[in-house]
Subunit: 306 residues, 2 copies
């Protein structure tokens, strides 16, 4: 059994902490190859409100481009974003806006894109929380990832966000290497430079569907080839992945983060599309026996000390 | 510097062994995150002649099915394979035959497929070599993979074969976990069983293109997110990956296995499609400065002791 008092220090004593440590202790009898855990990123490992960090990155890049070429501000998608015009954004639709913003990086090499993403995350601040973006990660979840690895778990990130954006920060923020990040992919184009050396360039097109919902499960299988016995998430887009972690031969653990701490972060709910109705994801979790984490009650600290 | 005499014991002293150890020593100054090596599997890490092990597995499964249902032997693709009718197989074409054989596994769960592949590799023998299939791996390459990992390299397999087939054996034969295997993928279908629990089933369709040539480079980027500084291969299908390992900011090493040892294995050449002509891959390697490994001269032992 664990030295219970010595691990997961930012988790308050209670049923949730007990359930997690019980699961960790039980996993000692699971073969190492099966000790595999998958976590969503936005809203599960770091703050996703009021906007996704990746969206802030895209807007930041857009502003840099507009400063160099004012005519770009006239593109309808960009005008709506820059003006914060929610009505226009709603009318254009998020896919079209996302497509336009992603297109800003078309033609870049993977290394060039990674450098831009890292530079943004290094310099950006989260205004509402008054913290560097690097410090909006959830301290209790960092402790959980570390504890899992101490127990020979392989920890993967399974994000709805852009794979390359999350890979740019995963090693540094979460100790997760690039190959253990599964997200929404863009296509690359293979070509050759003037010296006939191969090169890769980003295109503006997605490779496959957005990594949300059932796609998280199929992409875990195709890209990682293992079934998790532990999964963590916070929204309807994580539902199938959380269920998937509980369908193996050994018991699984599904951890759902409930954003109920408006004092330290934000209070909001997410819905999950079930067969016939739309259901609040915490209700789904309660019905399916998931471990629902109250940020207000189960966490002693939300963010790392500055 | 290395204790040169103590490592890579199955590699004979000479220019190839020196070049590899020089590269390993130089890599000590490369950041750990960039120490990333990719290896082809068939013909690079284990024997691919006279037929691919995966093909033997497919035929083995076909024979099991035909024993249970003789009518299956009348399917033209299966009849050609079972009769060893090279003319008929040539007329039907390898893609169509491969599609028919892959279809044998349609509807299986990933776990069911993995169990079948492992059982085959555990029981099968390689007739011409007189060895268990598990022992047709190349001993010098196993030593190289181990030495790379001792030096904090991450080692990935980038195969033209089926991802799931290679994943079924990669941990056991090469100490490579499933998430570090990139190959030719089949699509999975997400569904739910009678208890409303999620399940994954194999389809008969490929996800994307076969993992050969330039696709190896784009798939390394999308699925693993790193650029190798060392790559190993043996055929035209590895050409772009080997070139890709030599285009980074730090020096790269491209290792090409030349099958010139008919005494212990098989003698054959492979061609690579270049811009205007078809060129023998060892000539491409010589022209581009790759490290071409003569199995006859550079290896003291080809296979592990039984």
């Amino acid at each position: 059994m664990s030295q219970r008092a010595d691990i997961l220090p930012s988790w308050r004593p209670g049923a949730v902490r007990e359930a997690i440590i019980d699961f960790l202790d039980q996993s000692a009898s699971v073969p190492t190859a099966d000790r595999f855990a998958c976590f969503d990123n936005d809203g599960t490992l770091w703050c996703e409100r009021p906007t996704y960090v990746q969206f802030d990155f895209l807007v930041d890049e857009l502003k840099t481009r507009v400063a160099a070429d004012e005519s770009m501000a006239e593109v309808p998608e960009f005008a709506a974003v820059l003006g914060g015009d929610m009505a226009a954004m709603g009318e254009l639709g998020l896919p079209r806006i996302g497509f336009a913003l992603t297109g800003l990086f078309e033609g870049l090499s993977p290394q060039e894109f990674t450098a831009l993403a890292r530079a943004f995350v290094d310099r950006a601040s989260h205004a509402a929380l008054g913290r560097p973006v690097r410090a909006i990660v959830y301290q209790p979840m960092l402790e959980l990832l570390d504890e899992l690895r101490r127990r020979d778990f392989t920890v993967a990130l399974v994000t709805g966000g852009g794979t390359e954006f999350v890979r740019a920060i995963s090693d540094d923020l979460y100790d997760v290497p690039a190959e253990l990040v599964v997200g929404t992919l863009i296509k690359y184009e293979f070509g050759r430079d003037g010296d006939d050396r191969p090169r890769l360039r980003r295109t503006g097109a997605l490779l496959g569907d957005a990594n949300e919902g059932a796609a998280k499960v199929t992409n875990i299988q195709t890209q990682l080839g293992r079934r998790p016995i532990l999964a963590g998430g916070n929204s309807g887009g994580d539902r199938e992945m959380l269920e998937w972690a509980c369908t193996g031969d050994t018991p699984g653990l599904a951890i759902l983060i409930d954003h109920d701490d408006e004092e330290h972060e934000f209070r909001y709910t997410s819905t999950a599309q079930t067969f016939a109705e739309t259901e609040v994801i915490t209700d789904v979790g309660a019905r399916l026996g998931w471990t629902v984490v109250s940020m207000a009650n189960d966490w002693d600290t939300v963010f790392p000390a500055l």
